[in-house]
Subunit: 343 residues, 2 copies
């Protein structure tokens, strides 16, 4: 079993640890004490996908606009932003991404209160920030992030739930470890879906709203571990141009939660089916699954936030199975290091 597969399986326990961390409600209580006009984030790769998920939750539950800043704005162009009263969040599992660490220092100088979300309490990022929340993921041996990604999603999502004192969101998050255990115990349809993609040369992964982060992360995992040239789009963006490249037989993966985003994904699925595309659909929606050549049914009745996590894990399993089927060791991506020190 690869490290990647082992670490995928550890996720229910990791996320349960975050749900029990008293530091999250403690920080939320302090954040509630004064108005925060804006959250500015710094993150790269997977970490920025976690921020995408956070942006939806913070906007809905707190009315907070989230600006995901390009680190180069601060590290290369030395922009001095006006961020008095804002919350600046740096997200990096290693806590050693140079541009995120330097960028967070710049946000602090600009007047923001700063928070580090990392898996390393002793890292440079945690030392730089006013506050630190731990990802509780333990050591990750695979270069491709799995548990260090979902733990970022969970830390940020739980922070929103506690900050907004949102019982519906709390309940949806509490259901995540159990939902992931069920998915991990019964992944036979994902196996079959992965086998069908063995000789694919490129792939689009579509999501929307709360499933969009899962689409972004799945495309990255497919690149890193199975060397499949996958690209993620929101279903709305996809219809604004990229849909032009789709030929009959081309493979696409659609990841859908059951909420207001479902209608748009159904629309694009119907259009792609007309074109003759080969659809893999992961969803609990029977309406959507019937468009698929490879349907992967999730249990019905899952909250869309819970589904946001389940879809990420489904994408990880798809990547892990596909790498294996393509004869690639998912633990040793070419040209990659675990800590990337770009400025």
């Amino acid at each position: 079993m690869s490290h990647f597969a082992t670490e995928i399986a550890e996720q229910p326990d990791v996320l349960a640890r975050i749900l029990a961390d008293p530091r999250v409600p403690e920080l939320a209580r302090r954040l509630r004490a004064r108005p925060v006009p804006l959250v500015a984030t710094l993150a790269r790769g997977s970490s920025d996908h976690a921020v995408t998920f956070f942006g939806y939750l913070a906007g809905r539950a707190l009315g907070l606009p989230v600006a995901s800043l390009p680190p180069s704005l601060l590290t290369l162009y030395d922009a001095r932003l006006h961020l008095e009263g804002a919350l600046g969040i740096g997200v990096s599992q290693s806590g050693e991404s140079t541009d995120v660490v330097e960028g967070l220092a710049a946000l602090k100088r600009s007047g923001a209160h700063t928070l580090a979300v990392t898996n390393r309490p002793g890292s440079a990022l945690a030392a730089e920030a006013d506050d630190h929340l731990d990802q509780h993921a333990g050591r990750e041996r695979a270069v491709a992030a799995s548990k260090t990604f979902t733990s970022q999603m969970m830390v940020l999502a739980r922070l929103v739930a506690e900050w907004a004192d949102d019982d519906e969101l709390r309940t949806a998050l509490d259901a995540v470890p159990g939902a992931l255990r069920s998915l991990l115990d019964d992944a036979a349809t994902l196996d079959r879906a992965a086998l069908r993609l063995t000789h694919a040369e490129g792939l689009y992964v579509l999501g929307r709203g709360l499933s969009f982060a899962a689409a972004l992360e799945t495309a990255l995992k497919l690149k890193e571990t199975a060397y499949l040239d996958a690209q993620a789009y929101s279903s709305a963006e996809f219809q604004h141009g990229p849909i032009a490249v789709v030929d009959p037989g081309d493979p696409l993966v659609i990841l859908a939660a059951e909420d207001a985003s479902l209608a748009g994904l159904e629309e694009v699925a119907a259009r792609l089916r007309q074109v003759g595309a080969d659809l893999t659909v992961v969803s609990s929606s029977a309406e959507l699954l019937r468009h698929a050549a490879a349907p992967v049914a999730l249990p019905e009745g899952m909250h869309a936030v819970t589904a946001g996590f389940a879809l990420v894990v489904a994408g990880q399993l798809l990547a892990e199975r596909l790498a294996t089927s393509r004869g690639i060791d998912p633990d040793a991506p070419r040209h990659l290091r675990k800590v990337t020190r770009t400025r």
Copy 2:
């Protein structure tokens, strides 16, 4: 000659009209009268690439954080953001993108002052917004945006220059029409670069900082007009994972301006050359061009902001030539409509 080619050639005149529009400094004067804590934007496809460029300029010259909001946060999830005092900008050439129009109305209800940037003064978006700035591009017949994209970049960039009263930025923008005329008059090396890509099956387009919007837009044009499965990345993001997919001989395009972003692009170019990738480089940097199998030299001494526009037009020309070489009519992308009405 295709509509796409004709409209690419019209850009110097379109941008000169924007540089002469008295409404831009007039709005800038009013914006200076009170502090603006944040800009929240709504845009899809190409329009969001123009926002990416704007984000760098607004951060540098005004210290303003720019949050590019996913329209679905407002239209599907009904988030009620706290945006008192903020500027909300909706960017859409047609002014009829349903989600941008509805989203801008939601920003107004949330307390933002709203601005429409469109090519249609009579559009729903212009009617919805408190202020409207015109793209002055005239009718665009090709489905793939060219002049309606660079005109969005210019409207937003000039707004920053006037708002910040930034003479260096003004001078860089004033130089754009002339720089584009030179590029359009002498595109022989771009022709050759396009011919080399005729049988490419996928392509990465890399930029960083002020050239990142050009990378995003070039990848989209290559998809829409040449059906080439192109993906854009910042050079920093690319090294965080996607670089794993690169095989010897794989084609990549690097678009670079000469500023603080250049060192990172040189680093990734050297790494890709070691892997044996096939590099097309558009830049004025001799250091960077020497890594290229297909070097496309821009004139030296161009301001990085001016180069940001020139690189976009270089990418358009590359897409137009490549479509022609692949026997595709760039005016009639499959599965696409000029106005996309997603919610």
